[in-house]
């Protein structure tokens, strides 16, 4: 390699490392600072009062926060389930049935929540629920669930649709050829092969629901305050140590799950690649 090319390589590598480093600092600085201040004994964030766990101890007794957590987890679980079911049905419709009445409208409606501001989705859904109060009843957990499923379904459809389109159509044909009826084909062949996408869609909708502020604000009722709403109303007032502690706990849990999950997926993929390579050589 010529000297000039070598120089380019060194410069590029050095520049690259710096940019990546700075980028990661940018991404993680707020998180690190947050966790750092959650151990601050002093309630004022700008004064360092020594290390303390008092805010964590306070968390355990924070009734509002804990009920928010419980409610959010429930809603997220149900919303993710609903999103995956509806999303899978919508994805199937879009991939398998190329022609049906209202297909353009259907596609538009499925994709609309992805581009519309959440404020508008929340507003329109709320006004509809109010107009038809007799049908849907008072606002509360159910109505929040409705909004979350509406949003989650769009994301789930995108994920599942992508996987379905990648699926080799000959696999389902082979199953039918070997004697499997359409329902059997779905449960024995299609479903196992899209399972990964279903899990991804579930996790995505779960996170979306857990994090949502806007829809929950529009659609909640008395007694159904979700965790993000609790945090949001307190955060508006300023920097508070109790939120820092709660945030640190949440961040820790998510980190463990993401790191753990990524590691497992990575290992499984590596093993698979090695097996394929070994088979080719044989």
């Amino acid at each position: 390699m010529s000297l000039r090319a070598l120089l380019y390589r060194v410069l590029e590598k050095g520049f690259g490392k710096t940019w990546l480093g700075a980028g990661f600092v940018f991404l993680y600085l707020p998180i690190v600072v947050l966790v750092f201040y959650s151990f601050n004994a002093s309630p004022l964030p700008v004064v360092w009062g020594g290390v303390s766990l008092r805010w964590y101890r306070q968390l355990v007794q924070d009734r509002d926060l804990l009920s928010g957590v419980w409610l959010s987890l429930q809603i997220a679980l149900y919303a993710a389930t609903g999103s995956v079911v509806l999303g899978a049905l919508a994805a199937f419709t879009l991939v398998k049935y190329k022609r049906f009445w209202g297909r353009t409208l259907f596609t538009g409606m499925v994709n609309a929540p992805l581009v519309m501001p959440e404020v508008i989705i929340g507003l329109s859904l709320l006004l509809m629920l109010v107009s038809m109060q007799r049908v849907f009843g008072q606002r509360g957990m159910f109505t929040i669930w409705l909004g979350h499923v509406l949003l989650g379904m769009s994301y789930a459809t995108v994920v599942i649709q992508a996987r379905l389109q990648d699926l080799n159509p000959e696999l389902e044909q082979a199953a039918a050829d070997l004697g499997a009826r359409p329902i059997q084909v779905f449960f024995l062949v299609t479903l196992p092969l899209i399972l990964n996408a279903l899990v991804s869609a579930f996790l995505l909708s779960f996170t979306l629901s857990l994090d949502d502020v806007v829809l929950a604000a529009f659609l909640n009722g008395p007694g159904s305050t979700t965790l993000p709403l609790v945090i949001f109303s307190r955060a508006r007032l300023g920097m508070r140590p109790d939120i820092n502690a709660a945030a640190s706990v949440i961040i820790a849990v998510v980190t463990v799950m993401v790191v753990g999950g990524s590691y497992f997926v990575f290992r499984a993929e590596r093993r698979r690649a090695a097996e394929i390579a070994a088979a080719q050589r044989a």
């Binding site: 080799n168 000959e170 696999l171 044909q173 082979a174 199953a175 039918a176 050829d177 070997l178 004697g179 499997a180 009826r181 059997q184 024995l188 062949v189 196992p192 092969l193 698979r272 097996e275 394929i276 070994a278 088979a279 080719q280 044989a282």
Partner: protein, 369 residues
């Protein structure tokens, strides 16, 4: 010679006037009729887009015919979905279920039938033994090589002992060396099992090696049906002559028309064909001459028919034979293939040299279409 559609009502597989119209202008399958005997390996040969795969899929049940019918062992298949037909297919991509083991893949069809466990396990083992993968039962498809995957696909489609097995470009995914070995192996296994087989391929070597009979298709039509020898030595149309192997096509006019011989004037040479043809004097025809039937000599051979002089324009050495391209007066090029019978032939014509091409009067095929 156009193919005469057989109306044999006792043939094992009968395809009658099958039409498939996708609405794209021309018909994908245009009035095809075929008879296939039980236990026969039948190949559908043709270039991509000729309709052979569509035809196969209609037999399998994945496409609905626009018109016509298909009968298997006397039973009409019309309206039956794929999972109710006693037919199994081996797909081009093998379509092995990636989430199931080899064993489960082969057992899949048997489980759908509701076979009890003992006989099913026995059958699976039998199938794996047939393709020599007995010790691979626990593996998953991605842990197998391409050739092994193909064998699993074969075992899977034979497991249910179908009345008819369909093969969609079975060897397309393999590299050349493996393909040659597998062709013979595959044909042997199929014959051993004795199952009737229809295969689709664009590789004429594959069709000629493996099939008992084959049909050449183009643009939805069947051009000729016959054994490999029939199709190769007596092609029915220009397309068939050109598609199968190498051929020299020479246009000319019939100048002498007798009962047991004809003479055809092609301008740069004069053919004398040792058999009569159905035709008239002055009729325009094409003479098809295979390169291996032509022999190159230094001196002008005796007689005035079936010979022409030219210059060697190209020479390609293929190991077992050499292909010459002879440039004739008038610009026409003749392909000649000479087997390398002896080592270090010193009189073989070199590039730029002149040579006479000569052939017997039994070598030509006269075509009108």
């Amino acid at each position: 010679m156009t193919p005469v559609p057989s109306t044999n009502d006792t043939a094992f597989v009968q395809i009658r006037d099958l039409v498939k119209d996708f609405g794209a202008g021309s018909l994908a399958v245009n009035n095809v009729s075929l008879d296939i005997a039980q236990g026969e390996i039948f190949a559908l040969l043709g270039p991509s887009g000729c309709g052979k795969t569509t035809l196969l899929r209609m037999v399998a049940g994945f496409e609905t015919p626009t018109k016509g019918k298909i009968l298997l062992d006397g039973v009409e298949l019309d309206g039956l979905p794929p999972y109710l037909r006693p037919i199994n297919m081996m797909f081009q991509s093998y379509a092995l279920f990636p989430h199931l083991t080899v064993w489960d893949n082969v057992a899949f069809g048997l489980r759908r039938e509701g076979m009890p466990h003992e006989p099913m396990a026995e059958r699976v083992e039998q199938m794996l033994k047939l393709v020599q993968l007995q010790r691979y039962g626990r593996r998953k498809p991605h842990q197998l090589s391409g050739g092994q995957q193909q064998r699993v696909a074969l075992a899977r489609s034979l497991a249910k002992r179908p009345k008819l097995m369909l093969l969609d470009e079975p060897l397309a995914a393999l590299d050349k060396k493996l393909r040659e070995e597998t062709q013979i192996e595959l044909a042997n296994i199929i014959r051993k099992v004795g199952v009737t087989c229809v295969m689709v391929t664009h590789d004429q070597e594959e069709a000629m090696t493996m099939a008992n009979r084959l049909a050449v298709m183009s643009e939805g039509n069947i051009l000729q049906v016959g054994t490999p020898t029939e199709v190769y030595e007596t092609p029915a149309t220009r397309f068939v002559a050109d598609f199968i192997g190498n051929v020299n096509l020479m246009d000319g006019t019939v100048v002498v028309d007798e009962r047991d011989f004809v003479e055809i004037d092609c301008g740069f040479c004069r053919h004398r064909v040792g058999h009569g043809i159905t035709g008239t004097l002055g009729m325009p025809v094409t003479v098809a001459l295979r390169p291996e039937k032509i022999h190159l000599v230094r001196e002008q051979p005796a007689g005035q028919f079936n010979q022409v002089r030219g210059t060697v324009h190209d020479r390609a050495y293929f190991g077992s034979f050499t292909l010459y391209v002879l440039e004739l007066p008038g610009g026409k090029r003749l392909k000649v293939s000479e087997a390398n019978n002896e080592r270090n032939r010193t009189d073989a014509p070199a590039e730029g040299q002149g040579a006479w091409a000569t052939w017997p009067d039994t070598a030509q095929v006269v075509l009108t279409t």
